[in-house]
């Protein structure tokens, strides 16, 4: 074999080696391109799903927050309305207390009221011996009213009653503009069995009871019937 043939043979072998390497390199490059696309897609897709979930969660939180805010605002506005209603009711009772303070100005009318209050106390207590406590300024009226009430009780119930007006203890005085202490608009407190049974029949306590019991009626009179109320039992 001469040099030319040997060289040709060597070139053929060399080219074969290089061609094999090139083919292998091309195969690696093709695979690398595929891996590049799939890896990039895989990483992006995984993160994309996470991001979407994260922002969906955030949006839901905003919706919840909005509902909470709305609920808070609704409560706030309802409470402000209820507070004003309550203030108005307090205002009404203050006005009533002012008017109640003038009841004892008309002595004849007030004495009749006192007599009725004392008589009612006798009936409620249903005892033989009763003590009556009134205001100091009502002392004269009280004696007369007590006597009349006792007579009425005997006539209606048929029982005598041993009644005494307390000369040492008194109810607070009537309200005056220059006086800030405890006040009483009138009426009496009756007690029996040495103070163990008590019947509070002062005008103030009666007004309080009336207010408590008549609150639904008062609301209706002030603001009209409730539109949301369904049951009237």
């Amino acid at each position: 074999m001469d040099d030319t043939q040997v060289n040709a043979q060597l070139d053929q072998m060399k080219n074969f080696i290089l061609q094999e390497a090139q083919d292998k390199a091309n195969e690696i490059k093709t695979k690398a391109t595929q891996e590049f696309t799939s890896e990039k897609g895989r990483i992006f897709q995984n993160e994309k799903i996470k991001i979407i979930k994260e922002y969906e969660k955030k949006q839901k939180l905003i919706e919840v927050q909005k509902k909470i805010n709305l609920s808070n605002e609704l409560n706030k506005s309802r409470l402000s309305v209820l507070k004003v209603r309550e203030e108005c009711l307090r205002d009404v009772i203050k006005e009533a207390q002012k008017k109640l303070a003038t009841i004892s100005d008309d002595k004849d009318k007030y004495q009749t009221i006192l007599k009725n209050l004392i008589y009612q106390g006798f009936v409620k207590l249903n005892e033989n011996k009763i003590q009556v406590v009134g205001r100091k300024e009502d002392a004269g009226l009280l004696e007369k009213a007590t006597t009349e009430a006792a007579a009425q009780y005997k006539k209606n119930v048929g029982k005598s009653i041993d009644v005494s007006v307390d000369k040492e203890r008194f109810l607070p005085q009537g309200p005056k503009s220059d006086y800030n202490g405890p006040t009483c608009c009138g009426g009496v407190i009756l007690s029996a069995l040495e103070g163990r049974i008590i019947c509070k029949n002062t005008l103030d306590s009666r007004l309080e009871i009336c207010f408590d019991q008549l609150t639904p009626v008062i609301r209706t009179q002030l603001y009209g019937a409730s539109t949301s109320r369904k049951f009237f039992d």
Partner: protein
């Protein structure tokens, strides 16, 4: 041509071939790194897009909340005015009713 030259020629070819394959492998590694980088870049862009959408949604949604709140406040104020007016109009009637009940005894 000596046999040594021939062997050298083949060894050179082998070395070149190895380099071609090694370079291809190196390119593959670089390409995978680039895939991660590009994916991260696209992720960043996607996150920014989502964040923008979210902020728009947030301002729209919470903006609507403040509108609702002011509407509620307006309604409450109207209702309060009505209550005050009705109280003023009907107060005397109620006071008279309370006094009547307070001083009347059903004997």
């Amino acid at each position: 041509m000596s046999s040594e030259d021939g062997i050298k020629k083949l060894l050179d070819a082998e070395r070149t071939a190895q380099k071609i394959v090694a370079d291809a492998r190196q390119d593959r590694v670089q390409k995978l790194k680039k895939a991660v980088e590009e994916a991260e870049k696209e992720i960043k862009e996607f996150r920014e897009k989502k964040d923008k959408e979210y902020k728009e949604y947030e301002s729209k949604y919470l903006g609507a909340s403040s509108e609702t709140a002011s509407q509620l406040a307006t309604n409450a104020n109207k209702e309060i005015d009505t209550i005050r007016n009705e109280t003023a109009a009907n107060k005397q009637k109620v006071v008279d009713l309370l006094i009547k009940y307070a001083i009347t005894c059903d004997n």
